[in-house]
Symmetry: C2
Subunit: 423 residues, 2 copies
């Protein structure tokens, strides 16, 4: 079957229209055109920075990402707290589409540099969310020493991730004391956020690594369509979404009784970041049947190979014509399925990336995997281990960066990010 992009769209799929406010346009101003999505995002959208949970977790996934990890260069707990206060103020302003600082970008502060770098002047909030996390090395240094009097509050599960088969990590692009995830509909807005926070932190923290992502590969709301990763497949079909509060409580938010040493983390989460470099050129030489066999889903529709549509549960017992299961033992969808992992699920917020060309002349491209989980010991490490050992997809994947962070809960008016950890 010849399935063109036009025909896919003509089939009534709600692809691409992610902001509710724009959905109404399809039948109105632009009626009569062939294509589905008319406009991309509602750039005037803004999300509150304060709340029960940090924004940027269950928030409908924005199209663009700038993620940064920092190392703390000061030895002073007070300086660190001071920075978190400044970051809180700046993040709140930027998420509301405002400039950083009291002077902003063009106040003409005379002998001082402007408070804001200015490249987002004139741009609306663009759905910006800014989400902060704390790495294990913030609590104890490589020698196990307490750096800021926080060691007693280190969450049990907040340890450097183990080495998995297939890991080929660049140490300089892994781990970090602090992380900031900036997501927005406009990359200039996400980049502006990270840049200004890095600037505010100058002298207190140093940028360790950062990653841009240009196409989300997940959805955290039933109103979002499922996008495609660079293997060409829909990704994130079975994600935990905002509309399932029971699932969020079970799989995403740290519970009040989860960890007596880290009560401050209740209502927060753990953020796993993994940079999966794809062997794009090798993948592209595999047949469609093989590609679908590796994934266990149809490339066209996202339906499991056992039948149905994208949202049909896979039938892992259904035999194929050769007597083997239709969905192979080493198919990705089977290996990572909750049924094979004690029911554990993650909230994923991954992004595609292309970072130019590698030394071999291949696209340096893949999936920057981000997942929020209640406990990495139950919700990520066992699944990643299974995947690294048994998933046929791993032949086309190499993990070049890896990090784990504890993401504190949201804050009320007057508080700063992570205040519960320090006070």
């Amino acid at each position: 079957m010849r399935l063109s992009r036009r025909r896919l769209l003509g089939g009534g799929a709600a692809a691409g229209i992610t902001a509710g406010v724009t959905a109404g346009l399809a039948g109105g101003y632009l009626a009569g055109a062939v294509h589905g999505p008319r406009v991309s995002q509602d750039l005037s959208q803004s999300y509150a920075f304060r709340g029960t949970h940090q924004a940027g977790i269950v928030t409908p996934v924005q199209d663009r990402l700038h993620f940064a990890a920092f190392d703390v260069s000061t030895h002073s707990r007070e300086e660190l707290i001071g920075l978190l206060r400044l970051w809180t103020d700046a993040a709140e302003l930027m998420t509301q589409g405002r400039e950083v600082g009291t002077g902003g970008a063009v106040a003409g502060a005379g002998n001082l540099p402007p408070d804001d770098t200015g490249e987002a002047l004139g741009l609306p909030p663009s759905g910006l969310t800014i989400t902060f996390g704390f790495g294990p090395s913030l609590f104890r240094d490589a020698q196990g020493r307490d750096r800021f009097g926080l060691a007693g509050s280190q969450p049990r599960a907040l340890r450097e991730l183990p080495h998995f088969p297939g890991d080929d990590l660049e140490p300089a692009a892994s781990n970090g004391d602090l992380c900031i995830q900036a997501c927005a509909h406009d990359p200039q807005v996400a980049v502006h956020a990270i840049r200004n926070l890095a600037r505010i932190g100058f002298g207190t923290v140093a940028l360790r690594w950062s990653q841009l992502g240009f196409g989300r590969t997940s959805t955290t709301s039933v109103s979002q369509d499922t996008p495609r990763n660079l293997f060409g497949f829909k990704d994130g079909t079975a994600n935990v979404v905002a509309e399932q509060p029971d699932d969020l409580a079970q799989h995403v938010w740290v519970g009040a009784d989860d960890d007596a040493a880290a009560i401050w983390l209740a209502g927060g989460s753990y953020l796993v970041a993994r940079r999966f470099k794809m062997a794009i050129e090798v993948w592209d030489r595999q047949t469609l049947d093989d590609q679908e066999g590796f994934i266990g889903r149809s490339k066209a529709t996202g339906a499991p190979l056992s039948g149905g549509d994208e949202f049909t549960e896979p039938d892992f017992d259904l035999p194929g014509s050769n007597g083997e299961p239709t969905i192979a033992a080493d198919a990705h969808v089977r290996v990572v399925h909750p049924d094979a992992n004690h029911g554990a699920r993650m909230l994923r917020r991954g992004y595609n990336f292309v970072d130019g060309t590698d030394a071999l002349g291949s696209l340096n491209a893949g999936l920057f995997f981000l997942a929020f989980v209640r406990n990495p010991d139950t919700h990520f490490i066992p699944i990643q281990t299974r995947m690294a050992r048994h998933d046929s997809l791993m032949e086309y994947l190499k993990v070049t960066g890896s990090a784990l962070f504890a993401v504190p809960p949201g804050i009320a008016a007057g508080e700063y990010v992570g205040q519960g950890l320090f006070e």
Copy 2:
């Protein structure tokens, strides 16, 4: 003066609304909100691939870029022509929002890989343009030997760019036999285009380098607002735009009598690509006055320091309070102004980039400068030389990549890109 992003928008600037079709929304469906731009781009937009000129030059600048340079690995002229035929067919399909090849992404071709890699399935054309160019090394190799029988048709001005002060080039990220510029409103669509063209070329060409750009820094139509570069300033205010056909003929399109050896290039242009890495962190520590002095324009409005609004011509003679000109002798706007360069102008289509973090922990960020000119010997090299020697901005810039390509004219039905060069 405290000038918030909201206030800037409330001031009536037409910032951000770039696609004409969406401009009507501001007063209608979404009336009452505070912010200016409501939606970004009309993703259903498509541009014809064939025409008098290649698309992607005077086309209103799309928001996202994937640029790639290739080296030809075959010695066969016929294979090279064969590739250009295949590229032409594929590019035309993709710009119309269709899959590559006869089978597309999900045709189930049995023992063959799919014709299309699939990550753009379900995405509309998104304003995609694909523009091809030929580098000097396609005509003659490093030893001056004629590679494909084209040496006699090499344009006089198509030579490797000279070394400029401030150049710190990575050879692997400079030059190339062929280039492809893919611009679209959606980065996934631009990346899909480059990836599939690279895939089609496998065995005939090898990817040499590629660059993603996420925020345009230019405008080629009076209906587009002027965006900001990562220095935080409006960039491209005085660009050559599509609505000025006399300027295009004078400054952008190669004339029929320009070069007797290269009549095939008439109606085409030269494409200069320069990767300017910005010393972001150093720049951010300069005062607003100094930043504005380096550029010669207001950061808030883009108006020249001599007064007026963004589109007022600079008055280079206007004295300031200290008796010196208001716009300094080494201000960027003065150094590159046509008045200082025998009237020469360029059509710029630059993009911001952030490629993660460099070895020193700074953002690896800047401006990927793209300019189309009628003749680099008159319209680029002298200006870049002046800029490299006299522009105070150069203290904050380092050029890490550089290339020059001849961009053939557009093609009619049945022709392939560059046909005039080969036949």
